[in-house]
C-alpha cells in the first residue's frame, strides 16, 4: 500500500520472503546474508521496462546470527539501526512488512499520470572471500531472488 503524506509517497508493503536452503544454511553457520529490497518508480507511458525510472530505492538489511546470543540481529544498512530477534521466522516476519519506506516526492509525479511501482527482493550471501566465491558458486547457489513485482501507482 502506498500512502501520501506531506507530498511524499510511502510504501507499506507485504513481502513474501522464502530463502533457499543454502542461504539459511549459510546464515546458521555464521555467514551473514543481505536482504535487498529494490524498488523502482517507472513512468508508465514508456514502453515496457525501458521507460524513465523516476526513483530507485535500494533498502538493504544485513542479517547475522549471533551464536552466543542465540539471536538474529538485523541491521539496517542505510540507517545503522539494528534489531535482534529470537528466531529466523521472526526476522522474516519483521522484514516481510516494510513500513513507511519513502518512495518519491509527489512533485515529481504528474497528476493523472501512469506510473508503475516495481519491486524485487534478493537474498544473497556476500561475505565469502573472493577467491572462494567462484569455486563455491560451482556447487551451490548463493543468491535467491524474487521476480520483479509490479503495481500501478496513481498520483
Amino acid at each position: 500500500m502506498v500512502v501520501r503524506r506531506h507530498s511524499v509517497y510511502y510504501l507499506h508493503g507485504r513481502l513474501q520472503i522464502a530463502p533457499n536452503r543454502t542461504v539459511r544454511h549459510a546464515l546458521l553457520h555464521g555467514i551473514p546474508i543481505t536482504l535487498s529490497l529494490k524498488i523502482h518508480i517507472v513512468d508508465g507511458h514508456t514502453f515496457l521496462f525501458w521507460g524513465d525510472t523516476l526513483a530507485r530505492i535500494d533498502q538493504r538489511y544485513r542479517i547475522a546470527y549471533h551464536t552466543v546470543l542465540g539471536r538474529y540481529v538485523v541491521r539496517d544498512l542505510e540507517t545503522g539501526v539494528q534489531t535482534s530477534y529470537p528466531t529466523f521466522a521472526r526476522v522474516i516476519m519483521a522484514l516481510e512488512h516494510p513500513h513507511e519506506i519513502p518512495l518519491v516526492d509527489g512533485s515529481l509525479l504528474r497528476a493523472g499520470g501512469h506510473y508503475r511501482l516495481r519491486a524485487r527482493v534478493t537474498l544473497h550471501v556476500d561475505d565469502i572471500p573472493h577467491a572462494l566465491r567462484w569455486l563455491a558458486g560451482l556447487w551451490t547457489n548463493w543468491e535467491s531472488s524474487s521476480p520483479w513485482a509490479s503495481t500501478r501507482l496513481v498520483p
Binding site: L69, S84, Y85, I128, P129, A131, L132, L135
Partner: protein
Amino acid sequence: MDKLGKLEPVGKHPTRSLKPRLLPLLTAATLLAVFCTFVLLASTTENPGLFGELDIPLLVLVVFGTTGLLSLIAVQIIHLGRIYPRREPGWNLIRRMVRTFVGLALIPVVLICAFAVVFIRNSIRSWYAPPVTRVVHTAVALSRGAIDDTLKKDLHITRRLARNLALTAPSAWPFLLGRLRSQSHALDVVLLDSNGRIVAMDSAFPFLLLPPTPSRAALEEATHASTNVVLSPGQGHHYTVRAVVPVPTSDPFARPLVLEAVFPVSGHETRTARQVEKAYARYEELTLLRRPLTWSLILTLILVTLLGVLALVTAALYFARRIVAPVDELVGAIGAVAEGRLDVRLETTGDDFGPLKRPFNRMIGRLETAQRTAEEHRQREEHERALLETVLAHLSAGVLVFDERRVLELANEAARRLLGLNREQDVGRDVGALRAAHPALEDFFATVDELLPASQEEIRREIVLGGGRRRRVVVARVTALPELPGIGRGGAVVFEDLTDLLEAQHDAAWGEVARRMAHEIRNPLTPIQLTAERIGHRFFDRLSESDRAWLQHAVETIVRQVEALQNMVRAFGDYARAPDLRFTRFDLSALTAEVADLYRGRYPHIEIVTDLAEPAPLIEADEERIRQVLHNLLRNALEALYGQTKGQVLLRVRYDLVQGDAELLVEDNGPGFSPVMLEHAFEPYTTSKPRGTGLGLAITKKIIEEHGGHTLLSNRAEGGARIAVVLPVNERTRAERLRAAAHRYHPSEAEPL
C-alpha cells in the same frame, strides 16, 4: 677492434628481434611476480584468513607471472623454431639439455605436488574432526551459560524493581525510578503502557531525550505476563541486557504497565562472548566452504607448480642457450668468414672458449690482411688496365692483341674503327674466324696469321686493303708478347693507316713533276714554234710545189704539236699551282644548271638530265673553281659516252644541312671505270681516253680538297660510272674539314676501310 664488425651469433636472432631492453625487463618483472606470488602464498599458509584478503593481488601476480613465463618460453621456442629447420650446431645440445633439465625436475615436482594435494585434503579434513567440533561447540555453550547467568541476574533485578514500583503510588514513580536505576546500576529504566507510550523513565545519560523503547514483540511478550530479556549488541563494541517485565498489580481494571531496564555487560564478558562468537562463525564458515576451500588450495598449488615448471623450462632454455652460445658464436663467425666477411672478431673475455677464439681471431686477421693486399693489387691492376685502355683508346694507331691460340683478346677503338670490327662479336674470335667474318680484311688477317708466331723482334709489313670505298694502305707491326696470365705467349699487332699520308706525298710529287714540266717544257716551246714558222717563211718560196706542200704540212704539224704541248703544260701548271681561292656565296644548283645548259644539245645522242634540290641554299666556295670542276666532270662523262648511240648523263645536287655538306653527283651510263682506273683515276696523266691529258680528275680532286671536301669514284650497279663530290657549304664546316684533313689520323676524319 672497435673498427671491426661484431659477430652476430645465430642464437641471438630472437633477442635482436625484440626491443633491446624489453627482454631483460620482461625477465626481471616475471621473476619479481613469481617471487611475490611465493611470498604471499607463504604468508597465507601461515594465516589462511589472509587468503581472502590477498586473493585479487595473488590472482594478478599469478596471471602476470604465468604470462611473463609463457612469453619467455615463447621467445625461446621461436628461437628453437628458427634454428630447428637448419639443424644449426647447438640445436641437439639445447634439446638434450632442456630434456634433461625438465626430466630431472619435473618428476620430483609432480610427486611433491601430488603429495601436497593429499596433504592438503587430509589437513583440511582434520580441521573438521569431531574433537575440534566438540571443542568449538563447548566453547559456545560455556559462553552462552555465562551470558544466561547475566541475563538471569539482570532479569531478577528488573522484576524486583517492578515489584517496588507496584508498591508505590504513581506520583512517586519518577523519583523512585531514579533511585532504583541508581541502585541497580542500570543504564535506562523506562515504564511504559501496553501501547509503548512512556509513563516514566530515568537514564544514566541525562541528555538522552528518549531511550530506545522495546520492540512491539517485546512489549506484547511482557504485557501478557511474560518476560523478555535479551542480550543485544549495543552501541560500540558493548553488549547490553535489555529486560522487559510486567509491573504486577492487584487492580484488575488498572492499565497494564511494563518496565524495561537496560543493563551494561562488563567488558570482559563482552570480549569473551565476541571472541567465541567470531571463532565459531569462522569455524562454521570454513565448514560451509570446506569443498571450495580445498579445491582452491589445490588449484593454487597446481598453479604454483605450473609456475615452477614454466620457470624451470625457461631457466633450462636460458642456460642451455648460454652454454651453447659460444659454440653458436663460433659457428656464426665461421659462416660469416665463409661468406667473405673477414671483419668479424669473437669476444674472448671471460669465456671458456677463449683459447679457441684467440687463434681463430688471429687466423681471420691474417686472412683479412691477405685479402686486403690482394684487393689492393687488384685495384692497382684495374687502375693500370683502365689507364692502358684509355691510352689505347686515344691512340690513332690500331692495336690488336692475340693470345697464344690466336684468339683476339683486345682491339682498341682505333683498330675497331679502321677495320670495322665489333667489340662484342669479334673480340674472342680467332684469326680464322675473323678472316671468315670479314672477307674484305682477308689480306690483313692473312698477314697477321702469317706473322703472329713472331719472335721477340718486331716485324713490319705494309698491307693494302681495298674492300671499302677507298683503297687503303696500312703498315702493321707484329710483336710477340711476353707470357701474360690468361693470354699466354700471344702477340700484338699495331697498325697505322698511311693512305692519306701516301696520297699527300703522291700529290706533292706529282705537283713537283707538273711544276718542273711546266717550267722546263714551256720555255723551249715558243722558240720551237717560232723557229718552225721562220723555217717555213724562209724556205717556202725556194721549194718546189711539192716540197712546199710538205714543208707547210710539217710546219703546221710542229705548230699544232707545240700548241698541244703548251695546252698540256698549261694544264700541268694549273694542277701544280695553288691559286688563292676567292670565296663567294652562290647557288650550286643554278651553277650546275648553267653548265649543263652549255653542253645540252651539243651531242644529240646524249641526254643531259639534272636533278637539282629545291630550294637550294647558297654555299660558300670559289665559284670559278667549282665551275671548272663541273666542266671537268661533265666533259669526262660526255667523253666516256663517245661512240655510244644513246647516252645519258645525270647531274644531281643534294644538301645535307645537318652535316653542312652539299653533294654533287655525276653519273653516266657508259662503260664505267676499270679496276685500274678506280685505283689510279686521281693520279695525273691517268686516262682511259686516247686524247685526254689525264689531269681532269686530278685537278678536280685537288680543287675539291682545297675546299675541304672529298671526291669518290665508283661504278653503278646497273652500269656506268659515278663520281660524287662532297663540298662543305659554309666556312665553319670547311674549316672543320680542313683541320681534320690536316690531322690526317684524327678519328673523326677516318672512315672504315
